[in-house]
């Protein structure tokens, strides 16, 4: 399998796990020490450090997954990731990945809408279990979120 195929398979699984309601498996796609951030393009471009979500390490990933699944209160909805334009480069045991993402959100009594679109700037590593995320930065384009972001992107 080529590097591109491996990485594409990984991102297919990433999207499937979130969209399929298996958020408890989402932290399994990371390898400690890991970092997950959602950050607006505005904050990113201006060097402002605020994240919309930030998990430093496995514990925070698991806490966020649990909160999203069981603790937060939000209207029922379907999520659909589209992850495209994946480019990967392997160097010194790390795989640098750039990709575009769009997340479609469908609420009851509403048309499907684009919740947000942006790009992933990720670092993957090879582990015995397969490819895993060391770092995932989701940079979303919009200055304005329609409603809330109730799950990881």
């Amino acid at each position: 399998m080529s590097l591109r195929e491996e990485v594409e398979d990984f991102y297919a699984e990433y999207g499937e796990i979130i969209d399929g309601g298996e958020l408890e498996r989402w932290p399994e796609l990371f390898a400690e020490p890991c970092l997950y951030r959602i950050v607006s393009k505005e904050n990113h471009d201006r060097g402002l450090p605020l994240s919309l979500m930030r998990c430093d390490g496995m514990g925070m990933l698991r806490d966020r997954a649990l909160a999203s699944q069981k603790l937060n209160v939000y209207a029922p909805r379907a999520w659909r990731h589209s992850i495209t334009q994946i480019r990967a480069r392997e160097e010194h045991g790390r795989i640098a990945v750039r990709a575009n993402f769009a997340v479609f959100e469908t609420l009851q009594d509403e048309h499907t809408r684009v919740l947000c679109a942006g790009r992933y700037v990720d670092t993957l590593v090879r582990t015995e279990a397969g490819l895993r995320l060391r770092e995932k930065i989701c940079i979303y384009d919009a200055a304005l979120i329609p409603g809330s972001i109730v799950m990881p992107l």
């Binding site: 959602i38 607006s40 505005e42 904050n43 201006r46 402002l48 450090p49 605020l50 994240s51 919309l52 979500m53 930030r54 430093d56 390490g57 496995m58 514990g59 925070m60 698991r62 806490d63 966020r64 909160a67 603790l71 937060n72 209160v73 939000y74 209207a75 200055a143 304005l144 979120i145 329609p146 409603g147 809330s148 972001i149 109730v150």
Partner: protein, 407 residues
């Protein structure tokens, strides 16, 4: 108004038409946002240098705040004096000396004065503006702005009282606790659009009880809960308020027993997101402020933010979050603020619940003009309370609102 009559029970009831009626909304824009109030516009640290600007708003109107050549802060409507084009489209930015409208290149200085326009004397002896056209009469429309200890407010009504008088001594005390004179550090922005009436966001902050019921994180870890030592403090109008509380513990007691969202067994795998250090005088660990009409000032543990409300019709508003710290924070404190920011914003472990529930409330209000909400927890009075098992801040708010709105 339009045959609308407030329920006979008075301020403890809120008829749902205040959240849906177009005529009510227009009156709110006129009397509140464009009336003698002070709206939050910016933090000074967002525009530190001459030529820095921020595009912000008062009610529905786009407004520019600009750091002038002499370091003073100027406010203008974001609208070219020529043909009404919005002058700045970026949320923040910098110009060297002039704002230039792209349409016909009318050029304004940082004080809003019209300094030039092409073809003013014509071209090759033809055309040009009339001889009596006065550049001095066609600057940007200025608006009064007042800065206090790092935050900037503006008004569309020259009759607004001075800012300090508008807040009153009591609310000013709370304001100065967070804006304590230290230079601020901008940490970043989040913005969201919510399908709900703008007042619901202020109510959400004034509604003390919901925090102990809706938010599992607050309830379980005691960050903001009615069984903690708490106080509700208001100004004379009832429109501004501060909800003050001390963090409690994760314990089953008479209060938490009644909160279905209390999870005695819940533990965080990484508790750093709620780990706080004391940084303000006094015992309060959280004070949530509502400054009429458009500002929520959040001090929850070490996460600080302004939340600016931008109304967009009766059924929709935008919420602009600006997170900040102090310029003298060490790296550890900045990291702490950034980790605790996980609780707040459009993806906040706590505040996502609020964004969702206000939209759900709005869904309930549609086609329900005959019905009214009940704010009777803690009685029917309007007095400050030394506990949080009360809707008093909501009653006082609607008493003030009815006076302003003549309802």
């Amino acid at each position: 108004m339009n045959g609308r009559a407030w329920p006979a029970e008075g301020d403890s009831r809120v008829p749902y038409w205040v959240y849906t009626d177009e005529a009510i909304y227009r009156r709110e824009i006129e009397r509140i946002f464009e009336g003698p109030t002070w709206s939050y516009l910016a933090l000074e640290c967002e525009i530190p240098d001459p030529g820095d600007y921020k595009r912000t708003s008062i009610g529905e109107r786009s407004v520019l705040v600009v750091r002038g050549a002499n370091g003073a802060i100027n406010g203008f409507l974001n609208r070219c004096a020529h043909r009404g084009v919005q002058l700045c489209q970026q949320d923040t930015g910098h110009v060297d000396r002039f704002f230039v409208c792209p349409y016909h290149q009318w050029t304004y200085d940082l004080e809003g004065k019209l300094r030039g326009l092409p073809f003013v004397r014509g071209v090759k002896g033809v055309g040009g503006m009339p001889a009596d056209f006065s550049m001095a009469d066609h600057g940007l429309t200025p608006i009064p702005v007042q800065a206090r200890r790092g935050a900037v407010f503006g008004s569309l009504d020259a009759q607004a009282p001075p800012l300090e008088e508008y807040f009153g001594p009591r609310m000013l005390g709370f304001y100065d606790r967070v804006f304590d004179g230290r230079e601020l550090r901008l940490l970043g922005y989040s913005r969201q659009r919510l399908a709900a009436n703008w007042k619901l966001m202020l109510e959400n902050i004034k509604d003390t009880c919901h925090a102990s019921l809706l938010h599992v994180f607050f309830v379980t870890f005691g960050l903001f809960r009615v069984d903690n030592p708490s106080k509700v403090r208001m100004d004379e109008t009832g429109l501004h308020a501060a909800l003050i509380s001390e963090r409690g513990r994760q314990e089953l007691n008479e209060g938490t027993r009644q909160m279905q969202s209390f999870k005695a067994q819940l533990t965080l795998q990484d508790p750093r997101i709620i780990e706080a250090v004391r940084e303000f005088p006094g015992d309060a660990t959280v004070i949530m402020h509502t400054f009429w009409p458009n500002l929520i000032l959040q001090q929850q543990s070490n996460t600080l933010a302004t939340r600016q409300i931008v109304p967009r019709g009766p059924q929709e508003f935008d919420l602009h979050w600006t997170f900040f710290g102090y310029a003298d924070d060490d790296d550890e404190m900045t990291e702490r603020r950034l980790r605790q920011a996980n609780l707040m914003g459009p993806g906040g472990l706590v505040s996502m619940d609020d964004g969702e529930i206000v939209a759900r409330a709005q869904d309930g209000f549609r086609h329900a003009a005959e019905a009214a909400g009940i704010n009777e927890m803690g009685g029917r009075d309007h007095a400050d309370a030394d506990h949080m098992v009360t809707d008093v801040a909501l009653r006082a708010f609607y008493r003030g609102y009815r006076r302003v709105m003549d309802l």
